[in-house]
């Protein structure tokens, strides 16, 4: 079994799974869990884009 992912898809998949667990474990009601999970996912993806731009600036 050998899988190859791009940096972006690996980081987004990481964010999906971590957000599901964070949402379920860190909030009590179903509505809050969904909202917090989506918030965490948005932060993960936003962080990926931010880090990408910072690396682009550093590379220039």
């Amino acid at each position: 079994m050998n899988l190859q992912l791009s940096h972006f898809s690996a980081a987004v998949l990481f964010g999906v799974f971590a957000s599901v667990v964070f949402g379920i474990t860190q909030r009590s009601t179903s509505r809050e869990q969904i909202r917090y999970g989506l918030y965490c996912f948005a932060m993960f993806v936003g962080g990926v884009f931010l880090a990408g731009w910072v690396m682009w600036l550093l590379r220039r």
Binding site: M1, Q4, F14, F17, A18, V20, F22, I24, T25
Partner: protein, 137 residues
């Protein structure tokens, strides 16, 4: 003179029940099972799917599985993360997986996937405990 300590609420000791011991233990051994035995079906299945898929993806990405006698402090920390996956870690070690040579640039993601799957399972087991003692619905 008022004693300031009397105004504080004293923490109430939670009674030790069978479920409060079994739920986190089985939740560690089988990700999500601590929720499933307490009839939190959807939460349990979502946790199980997330943690198992993350761990398997880590192996598929040729991630490294740490051993207990790594020696280096980072290897020990990696082992602590890995062992959080419970039964997944035991099966992986029994099948001698996770020892592949890193063949591509993103293989390090695999190692991180495996460690984080274990750490997320620790959080999941703690959540199962909180449900068992009634701290969380």
């Amino acid at each position: 003179m008022a004693n300031p300590s009397t105004n504080k609420e004293t923490p109430i000791a939670q009674p030790v029940t069978t479920m409060s011991v079994v739920a986190p233990a089985i939740g560690w051994l089988i990700p999500g099972a601590g929720h499933l035995i307490q009839k939190r079906w959807i939460r349990g299945l979502l946790l199980m799917a997330s943690i198992v898929i993350m761990f398997v993806l880590g192996l598929a990405l040729q991630g490294r599985v740490y051993r207990p006698n790594g020696g280096d402090i980072l290897d020990i920390l990696g082992f602590v993360g890995d062992v959080g996956a419970g039964g997944l870690y035991i099966v992986t070690r029994a099948l001698d997986l996770g020892q592949g040579a890193i063949a591509h640039a993103t293989a390090d993601y695999g190692t991180k996937y495996i460690i984080v799957a274990g750490l997320l399972n620790f959080i999941s087991a703690a959540d199962a405990y909180h449900i068992a003692i009634g701290k969380k619905p």
